[in-house]
Symmetry: C2
Subunit: 144 residues, 2 copies
Amino acid sequence: MRTNDKEALIGQLKEKGLKITPQRAAIIEALVKNRYAHPGATMIFTEARKKAKHVSLSTVYATLKEFSENGLIKQLEFDRMENRYDVDLSDHINLICKRCGTIIDYHIPAPLEPRDIARKSGFIVTDTRMELHGYCRDCLKRPD
Amino acid sequence: MRTNDKEALIGQLKEKGLKITPQRAAIIEALVKNRYAHPGATMIFTEARKKAKHVSLSTVYATLKEFSENGLIKQLEFDRMENRYDVDLSDHINLICKRCGTIIDYHIPAPLEPRDIARKSGFIVTDTRMELHGYCRDCLKRPD
DNA sequence: AATCAAACTGGAATGATTCCGATATGAGAA
DNA sequence: TTCTCATATCGGAATCATTCCAGTTTGATT
């Protein structure tokens, strides 16, 4: 599966028997519009409010959780930072800048084979989290 | 660098000009002894208490942070779960069981080349986080 | 139009982690 | 050995993203 757009996400909601509400539509728009920013709950909340006045932060959290659990989006979990969300479900690595928090998609030339892992370790992979932390081009340029 | 043992870690403390205290010695012992469990702060706290009676949870947190920042150990960050700590700094993937929380080391046949990434994206890698989430052999066997 | 499971809400609760100000101590210098 | 002081330790309070809760609203099917 590739990057989800608005229609694809709404279609998936229907398939899963989930309701389409104004709040969810606004959250989906915020997710898709800001896909390259890999937005967190706060940003999604702010963006969604612009479209639908009546969205609460509780709903944003509940919805993002629901979407993640149903495989519509991917949750990138962090300890100190806010969690971030990705509508691109294809195999790729996230390059995460330790200075500015930017997340860049890096598509892998040779992905790992879940079959090899299962054969060697008996572990069944359902989810991948590949991150490289460091410094992005812009932060390397900046003096300070 | 490979897996750190007790002496190696104490040596690194000296090199970095950090003090060797009974608390730190106990925390190091707990880290090394339970390396395959990839222990969290609570487990390290409990284990360290057995050796040194006077260790506080605050100190355990401060110490683990200090060690991580100085590259003595690696912090595996999670959102809902306690963070876990790894003394094995070699390139490897962590297989994380969603059911029992077990973390298994899986050494990679063909690691990613930081140079390729720098050339393609201008991003300098300082840290890798490679995780595959799913179900371990034991949990797959269990009925429930 | 009626129905009801699902979704929404604000506020309170959670829980791992960090911060704080005070006290104690390792380790180099005298 | 003793002195000195930057560093480490301590318990308790504060933080903050996220989840929980109990009451209300609403989408979508009949």
